[in-house]
Symmetry: C2
């Protein structure tokens, strides 16, 4: 059987734990969100924090994405170096090292960055001066998640005014990540902020919404020009739990080996918190879903051990058996490894470096 052969090759040629992606499913996931954006008349700007791979980013662009979103300057550096030019960094870039590198990066690409406070804007103006080139800035707006982002339209307008008046900065637009129930609040925030911006003579060229959980809401914000989603390219247990994906949409599996069966109702995988991560996935039961033993529970971790509770399953794996795991949160699992093994039609076809991993700044 093809799957057994694949497991055998992964185990022999790479060893487990191995992070394996199915490119057929990746293609399908990329196509699905592109179609959703196209249908809504909204640009697609996928977030590459999920895969950190220029190869996969270029597949997203080839399918119709207008550019990409990064969460770190170091990720943007890798992507610019790989030839990708239309990049939004959705982060407050603060600190001397970042300003210097932002200036250097600006000489190679027209990167757009985000701000929710004046300190950040001052750093951006410094970088623009050093680069001798204007830097585009979006204002990040919070509409209920209490993450980054100004809390009121007035603050957004005040920051946009600083951008307008600062030497070297260009106002580009507004960044939102509405909660699932928060689209009315986001609309009110948007409408009030845009009205205020217009009194300043500013027109937001980009109105960005975000999130794979928000896929059904693409285009819902009247005025939105693009959407940024990351997790959808692979999906995970969280996306299954919130109804955004099925098991068949999950394009990334951790291949793990059963290395111990010291008791009848327990076993140990060679994938612990240094592989699957302790991310609870917003309250999921255990730390991953084992396709071959759906009733088995990865109940606890050591760093290189995943402890299996087999009390609820009659089928139990033997020592040496290789299983496939859908992780709770795929973005943090990719960040643990240096390579993704790529499969197509059940065959290993490529090994993709997680090139933008470990970029600290």
């Amino acid at each position: 059987m093809k799957l057994d052969l694949l497991k055998e090759r992964i185990s022999r040629e790479f060893g487990t734990p191995a992070v394996v992606i199915d490119l057929d499913r990746v293609d399908r996931n990329i196509g699905r969100i592109q179609a959703l954006c196209d249908a809504a008349g909204v640009g697609n700007r996928p977030h590459i924090k999920t895969h950190k791979s220029p190869v996969l980013a270029k597949m997203q662009i080839a399918a119709g994405a207008r550019g990409i979103t990064c969460q770190k300057l170091g990720e943007a550096e890798i992507m610019v170096n790989a030839g990708i030019e239309d990049i939004l960094v959705s982060y407050n870039l603060i600190g001397a090292a970042r300003s210097g590198r932002l200036a250097a990066l600006r000489r190679h690409a027209d990167v757009t960055i985000c701000a929710d406070n004046p300190v950040t804007l001052a750093a951006y103006a410094e970088a623009a001066a050093a680069a001798e080139a204007p830097i585009g800035v979006m204002i990040e707006c919070d509409t209920g998640r209490k993450r980054a982002g100004v809390e009121t339209p007035k603050e957004a307008i005040d920051l946009a005014r600083i951008v307008r008046d600062a030497e070297g900065l260009e106002f580009r637009g507004l960044l939102f990540y509405p909660t699932e129930s928060g689209w009315d609040a986001a609309q009110r925030f948007h409408d009030e902020a845009v009205a205020g911006l217009r009194t300043l003579g500013l027109e937001p060229g980009i109105i960005s919404t975000g999130g794979t959980p928000n896929l059904p809401n693409i285009g819902k914000l009247v005025g939105a020009t693009e959407h940024r989603a990351g997790t959808y390219i692979f999906n995970d247990r969280m996306m299954i739990a919130c109804g955004r994906a099925t098991e068949e949409d999950c394009a990334l599996h951790v291949f793990a080996t059963v290395v111990s069966r010291a008791g009848p109702e327990r076993g140990i995988l060679d994938s612990g918190s240094k592989t699957l991560t302790a991310d609870p996935g917003g309250g999921l039961d255990g730390f991953g879903h084992i396709l071959e033993y759906p009733q088995a529970r990865i109940g606890a971790f050591a760093e290189e051990h995943g402890f299996l509770d087999l009390s609820r399953t009659n089928e139990r794996p033997d020592v040496g058996e290789v299983v496939r795991i859908i992780p709770n949160h795929v973005c943090v699992v990719v960040n643990m490894v240096d390579q993704l093994i790529a499969v197509r039609g059940g065959d290993i076809v490529d090994v993709l470096p997680v090139a933008a991993r470990g970029r600290l700044v």
Copy 2:
């Protein structure tokens, strides 16, 4: 002030988040456990999973450690390559890739490995045959933690018999990791197992105990010949919580920058679950202890954002401020980064690669 200058240099030259170790404290921590082992007449075999650095492993050996413990074959490969020869891998190494690499490694060093089942032993015998050199094996014994390890002395004896009779394998001893209240159980297990081994003509050369939480118990197991502890070199919030370390014993800090203060009672650090990890540290409050703002709580994460709850603190940081964090669990934090910035006397003196990180097999 020296600390301010250090923060400024870290921020300017490396950027945050940065993982910084204080070598003065590292020296002190290394010396303390070596003295405990010496006083107990027990060998010291530190676990390098915590730091994954050959430089630090060699500091431990220079201070008196008889060798090191690794949790992965890939870690052992890096350490052997760096010239360290006395290595115990405390893991069931299963899978074709591992057997082949174990054989290759055996040609360069006399690595001792562990087993809790016969499948593993068969793989080791294959590796020994391929290497044309004997491979030393310890039997891992569980005495209550329900991690890896056989559950009864009889199983340990049965496995030791297989080792004795297998071409190419050498019986080396028994591996324990007693629970804090489980030393009596470990002693009974040990005594019964050793008596049985002697009837087979086997004498355990190594009786190994483990764990930084067990530092006060070094030498408590009558018959123990060595102890393996990892976390003590840096310590963390977990070690403070269990009384094994003080804040001043913590030699590793994550330097992070406040990148947003969108509300009066909240703030955002540039260190999220991809830096500090979601490890709850066995039920600690929040995801790290901020030295400058001990009442602030890192209550939640995005991947590159740590969300600060400032409601309990009157002193609150400004955007741009750099703070130092003691993480919940230091071993998993080191595993997130590619380098450790080393400080001595408050000055940056070295940058240590986390050389054994990302070794999957």
